[in-house]
Symmetry: C2
Subunit: 189 residues, 2 copies
């Protein structure tokens, strides 16, 4: 069965959550990889960002996603860390582009709404639904990587072609739909 | 005469100011390069960041600075653009690290204070002083790249060894001082 492989990135300077899922056209999803890319707090900022870039490139090289979904960062978040988070999100987007992949950003409430049906859902509810969607026996670990998985699932569900079949003209496709269609074409070869 | 070559980056998504200066131990400074790296507003964000990364890498490859100084971005700035500015600053820091260069950040008021003696100086005053320091016949053009030059001069003046000579142990040197000392060593070969 053809599926879209999405890398979700929950950007952070100290811990950057990464989750890779395969999402089929019927919206069923399977866990491929989950983890955290860390950078040491005592490194200079430019070395921390390079560590994160290297970690994300390694995940892309190993798991070869079709598209990268990054959580959108807002200025009204915790002020002391928001700039580092924004910089990490920029790194994730750059690494996607330099790997030849399309990228997309989704807000936390878009992710919550996609996964739980409720844009203000609590963290545990999101984690519980991620585990259910991926048919895991327990909550995804580490817990802060569950957001990256939720983001990846959200991206496929929001941007995927759904039940529209393959009749849509290529020009009308979103980048994710194109990736999906490409993956499908490849699987038919 | 030995000098420290600094690349100053005034981060921005649409216009990213870059300025390269050579600053001698007696604090005199010379213009090497000034310009703006642009990215098209209609490109997806990941492509814009990749365009900026490529532009910064080209400046580093051509002018081979010893160190990169990036303006520090704050969350309280204009909210609609601050996230893009923060992402661009992250790209500049990453490109520095991946080019094997140390990087540093300075706040706008640190830059103004270093260049004009007054942390709340107006833009025109900073531009005027940058032109005077670099012995230019007119204000640096484009105007928004003057900040990148000011940043580069500020970095060398704040972090440089000043009049302390070479007696300082290497362990006590800041990254910029090390770069300066390295440049000096190279010039003596």
């Amino acid at each position: 069965m053809t599926s879209l492989r999405v890398l979700g990135v929950d950007p952070g300077l100290t811990r950057c959550g990464v989750g890779v899922v395969d999402v089929a056209r019927d919206r069923s999803a399977a866990l491929v990889h989950v983890g955290v890319v860390r950078s040491a707090v005592d490194l200079p900022i430019e070395r921390r960002l390079a560590t994160i870039a290297a970690g994300l490139r390694a995940v892309i090289a190993e798991h070869r996603p079709h598209v990268v979904a990054v959580e959108r960062v807002f200025a009204q978040h915790n002020r002391t860390s928001v700039m580092g988070t924004a910089q990490a999100s920029g790194i994730a987007l750059l690494v996607a582009a330099e790997s030849g992949l399309d990228a997309a950003t989704h807000t936390p409430s878009e992710v919550k709404a996609a996964i739980t049906g409720y844009g203000s859902a609590e963290k545990l509810q999101v984690q519980t639904m991620v585990a259910r969607v991926l048919r895991l026996d327990s909550l995804p670990q580490p817990a802060d990587a569950a957001d990256a998985l939720a983001l990846a699932i959200c991206h496929a569900w929001r941007r995927g072609p759904g039940g529209t079949g393959t009749g849509t003209g290529a020009a009308a496709l979103t980048p994710a739909q194109r990736a999906w269609a490409d993956a499908e074409r490849l699987s038919r070869r």
